[in-house]
Subunit: 141 residues, 2 copies
Amino acid sequence: MDNLNDELRDCSVFLLGKAYQRAHGEFKKLLEPFGLTNLQHLVIEALVHEPGLTAGELGRILILDKATLSGVIQRLEESGWLEKRADGDDGRVQRLYPLEKSVEIAAEMATARKSFDRRFLSGLTPGERSTFKRLLKELIW
Amino acid sequence: MDNLNDELRDCSVFLLGKAYQRAHGEFKKLLEPFGLTNLQHLVIEALVHEPGLTAGELGRILILDKATLSGVIQRLEESGWLEKRADGDDGRVQRLYPLEKSVEIAAEMATARKSFDRRFLSGLTPGERSTFKRLLKELIW
DNA sequence: GCCATAAAGTTCGTATACTAACTTTATGGA
DNA sequence: TCCATAAAGTTAGTATACGAACTTTATGGC
């Protein structure tokens, strides 16, 4: 039991999962007024930054499976956040464009995200914060 | 685009999610021979450590919603990993006990988990590893 | 002893996430 | 040109995750 708790506290998969769970749970609340989930907001931000991205390109940027993205994009299309248009050259490709309501809130969401990030890491010193992000990046890429 | 990638690489929620995604994905493969998922293996380990835990206690240890655990426990019961027994004192409570096949593989799984952890963090120096886990713990608890 | 309240689990609905199988469209080689 | 192969998306199936509503059982105040 104590033994077990010690093992959990030394297990990277567990620690990463729970830290993500906590960050995600709090960020979720912040996004609620916008009517978007975390992943949906990332897709919208990406499309506002670069309209016309394909699902495949989005997947590479957001490090996500095409099957997962397929559903996310479908829901965002149904609720009027984005639009699919056929690519002129390649019949397999659908290019994705943000609709007005996406463009309108993108900047505000980006601000909220950055402010959340500072708040979430406020218990760490500036040096710890940059170390933390550096180590995460080394593990991802 | 570059702008966007920079923002993603500075967003804790994104970095934590992707680091977890990577760790989880690799650990999943390691657990495949056992026929258990990451979460299922944590439940089994906990029950072998402390037979008779309730779903509520498990939820506090593993930091998990009772609704999520309900499903996980159900599947583990159906596939013969654990057993529910009514608590003698409290009619609301079901105590959970590991079955033989759980007890048999628990030690081997724990070894595999620790070995995976070392491998996953092998790109970091010993100092970085301990800093990394310390910072994650500060963000969780 | 009775009732309001709380606690333990279950169920439902929604959204990730991934694998595998499939459809449609492109492309390259013979 | 024709065909094998590959690439882009979709769909189905499984397993997390969580909030909300609900059932069943305990408990505390009176």
